[in-house]
Symmetry: C6
Subunit: 77 residues, 6 copies
């Protein structure tokens, strides 16, 4: 892969890696908004056992994935 | 279909298959966020009988489908 | 209309038909998420008489329509 | 304006008309979801006096406007 | 700037002006949905002191800004 | 980098800087909606300890990032 492109954080080999990156980006936002790891740890069982929160979090992943997929030209290489 | 493209998870033969993939991707996010199958199983009747949750989940599917449709150039092959 | 394109579920003659398709797709997601027709029937008066739910459902339609409109190149034929 | 294009419901002369169309489309979804005019009339004071509902409704308008603006190539004629 | 383009409400000189326009458009939707200035004035302290409402309103601004940024070709002139 | 482009607020060297800008833009909306720093300071612990609010805020960041990524042509320079 062209080195200059490969250095871009958004570029992944496969859509599957793109999904993982989308989850990572979504989580990075939570971390930026709430830097305290203890608070994030305490909130995990709250959202992870709440259907509405899980759905809202999957919406964030879908939005991040849309950006990553476009960045990777939908892996149509 | 061009083999290289076909290997991309996002490529489907038809929009109908694209819808199914969108649902699969949405569910994969829930699984990534809540890996415990028992918890997911317990949450199913909660969201599946809640109008707001069903609507929010269909928003996730719509967002994932938008990405898949763009990846497939709207199946205008 | 070019036969190959016309076979794609996303292609409609007019924006008005595109709106109807967007509503149909939004409803197909609810059906995929909650296959039990009786439950869906019971939920209908819940969301159809709830302003927040109606607004959230219209958000889903707007997102599906965005995809359909792009698929139809905004009917600029 | 080219007659074929002008017949498309999505095409407007100005962004201002595009905004009005976005509001019209958002309302058309509510009407499709809740055909009963009396119910819609009863719900109006509910959402129109609720900050969260007004904000959610303005999100729908923003999403519809994004589609209309793209359809009109951002009125860069 | 080319006069025809400049007349389009969506065109701004800078991204900063684009942000202001996004906020203006978001507010114009609230006004269209609730024309009564007294009601809007009464609702202001409700949403302006509510974290969830402020976040939802910033989502509307982000969506409007996406449209304005595309209209201005991301100010890459 | 081409001076004219570089002056555009949306242009960043890397996706990482793009993420920071997305967070900055999201926060700028909150500031525009609620100019009182004391109120914003009081609201911080409310949303920063609330899973639903944190998820909703990360949705705003994802939407702003999508715009910034497109503005930077996904850093495929």
């Amino acid at each position: 892969m062209n080195a200059a492109v490969a250095t871009s954080m958004l570029i992944t080999e496969t859509p599957e890696e793109g999904r993982e990156l989308a989850i990572k980006l979504a989580r990075s936002s939570i971390k930026a908004l709430q830097p305290d790891a203890e608070v994030r740890k305490a909130l995990r069982p709250v959202y992870a056992n709440n259907a509405s929160d899980l759905i809202a979090a999957s919406q964030v992943i879908a939005t991040e994935f849309a950006t990553i997929a476009a960045a990777n030209q939908y892996w149509r290489r």
